[in-house]
Structures are given as structure tokens and as C-alpha cells.
Symmetry: C2
Subunit: 190 residues, 2 copies
């Protein structure tokens, strides 16, 4: 009766492989490649004929212009600051307003189900700065149409995002050209 | 005479920023995103109008077909197994022959100076397996035309590659969908 084989197993069985309708990917860490790997994933989605969009949460200046050009050429919808958005800089910090507006737009795009992949580029920063409500982001992720894949990028992904993600990758800086005094190269670094 | 200000500084001065004609990037680690970040970087290079090529060192089957399709659409030269290469499977292990042939081709492409970026995808494996001579790879990197940028990917990048690289990023698996039993999704994972 006290046979060990009657004891419940000490660890749960490995779940059987299942086909998920979509996944949530998070690329975080302080190294290069968080956004870049996201864009690389979009190359696959585009090859599959999927409708894809990118939403940039941080005003990037000349950064990511290359990705944006190539992305648009591939038919990717690209929401970046300047796309018809204005703000009143007297009332609100410009970057915060951009991030809030980006999130409003992102939530709509996710819920619409029109895109098979929505990339929320550098969304961790406005979440960590308290500009966007973390719980609201998690809810939008959980409540999304089931065929909508999400890619979220940025340093210091908050625990609630890690929790809701299917795959989390941390990019770590082992060595960086900047440390040896090499300037960023247009075409490689941006 | 023994004034401390006369002593040499204990650490070398930080080098002044300089414009390097090209850089060597290494994406390593056991996480996702090594190749994918490389492909993302190519999106920038293409936007700049650069000639770019990818050389795949591992026969990938259905993997990377999406990247290859999109890459070719963007005008990237893509060398993958099947591109006019045949081997005698009686004499040599097929994968080893592919890797050696890929390296022969890669060396030519790097030295030709025709490409501003050459991506050596998953080259660390055949190096670590002893199929390609590490010293030969390092020499080709050091002796390359100065405008040729290189992207090398794969797990366990050997120390000699890390040493010759300008930027090294380690991708670490924090959580992976496979661990929860979710199957790879075409359009996202390949």
C-alpha cells in the first residue's frame, strides 16, 4: 500500500507537443540583436505571405531607417513617429506622448486580427518608465485573437511580460565594437 | 621625483572613437536569434544599397526557407546546399563535404571584395567539428578587403573567433516555447 510506485510523480509530465495557433516572443537583455532578431523573424512571416506590422515605441531618429525602408519594401506596415501623429509639447513630454499613442495604435492593431504578426519594438522602456500600463499590455496580449503572433523587444523585460511569453531570449553583450572606440557603421549598426 | 602624478596610469586610456571601414560581428549562445539577428542586420545593409551574400554552412532542410525567399527577393546572394554543388557520398560524409565546399566558396567571396557584407551562417559548427580549419578562417577574416563586413553565427563560437570579432553577442535561452510543448510555427520559427 505504501509502495513507492503508488506515489505521485515528483515532477509533472512533460506536456505533449501541441500546435499553438500563435506565440509571444520576447527579446530582452543589454546586448545587440533584440530588435534585429525581431526584424529577421519578420522576414520569415513575410515569406509566408502574412500581413505584418511593426510599432516603434521609441522615437529613433536616424536609427532603424534601414529596417523601415526594407520593411516597407517587403510590404510591412510600419508605425513610427511622424505617421500622422502630433502632440502638444507644452502639456506632455514628447516621448511619453509618442509611446502612449503607439500603444493606443498597437492595441487596436492587435485586437483587429488583421495582422498575423505585430512587433512591439522597444515596448519595455515605456512600460518600465510607467508611461504604459503593464497590466493593460498583459491583458491585450492574453485577449488577442488566437492567430496573432507577437514580438516584444527591449531591455529589462518586466516579469509580467516574461510570464505571458512563450519564448524569451536574452541577448548579452560579450564584446562591443564601441568599447574599442569603433563608431557605429551605417548599414550595419543602423 | 617620486610624485604620483609622474606614475604611468594604471589603465590604458579609452581609445578615441574612430571610423572603422568594416566590422566583424559574432552571434553565439544557445538561445534563439543568432541567425535571425544576422538576417535583420542584412535588412539594413540592403537598405543602404550594399551587395550582400549569405553562406549557409549547415544543410537546413525546410528551415530558413522563409529567410532565403525573402532574402533573394531583396537581392541578397544566397549560397545554400543545392546551388550547383554535388558530392560523392561514398567518399565523404555529406554534411562535411557541404561545409567544406561552403567555406571554399565563402573564402572566395570574402576575398573578392564584391560584397559589403558576407554572412557565414552557422559556421561555428563545422569549425568546432574540425571540418574547417579555424586558423584558415581567422586568416581569411584578418586578410579581408577592408570594406567587407562579416557576420558569423552559431553556438559555442571558438575563442579565436571571439578574439578577431569587433562585436560579440551571446543569445541565451530564458524560456522556449518548445519546453511547454509548443510546436515550431512556420512563419515564426522557420
Amino acid at each position: 500500500m505504501n509502495d513507492a510506485s503508488q506515489q505521485p510523480p515528483s515532477s509533472p509530465p512533460r506536456p505533449a507537443p501541441r500546435r499553438a495557433p500563435s506565440v509571444v516572443l520576447v527579446n530582452t537583455g543589454d546586448g545587440k540583436g533584440k530588435s534585429t532578431a525581431g526584424f529577421g523573424t519578420l522576414m520569415r512571416a513575410v515569406a509566408r505571405g502574412w500581413r505584418v506590422c511593426v510599432i516603434q515605441f521609441i522615437k529613433s531618429g536616424s536609427w532603424k531607417v534601414g529596417e523601415e525602408d526594407t520593411g516597407r519594401k517587403l510590404g510591412i506596415d510600419w508605425w513610427a513617429i511622424g505617421d500622422g501623429f502630433t502632440w502638444d509639447s507644452d502639456d506632455m513630454d514628447e516621448s511619453e506622448a509618442v509611446a502612449r499613442e503607439a500603444w493606443r495604435s498597437a492595441k487596436e492593431k492587435i485586437a483587429s486580427g488583421e495582422y498575423r504578426v505585430v512587433m512591439l519594438d522597444e515596448i519595455t522602456y515605456p512600460i518600465n518608465w510607467g508611461w504604459i500600463d503593464e497590466a493593460d499590455v498583459v491583458e491585450a496580449i492574453r485577449e488577442r485573437p488566437e492567430h496573432v503572433n507577437l514580438i516584444l523587444t527591449g531591455r529589462n523585460a518586466p516579469p509580467a511580460l516574461i510570464e505571458v511569453a512563450d519564448t524569451v531570449t536574452e541577448m548579452t553583450n560579450v564584446r562591443h565594437a564601441y568599447d574599442s572606440g569603433i563608431k557605429a557603421i551605417r548599414g550595419i549598426d543602423f
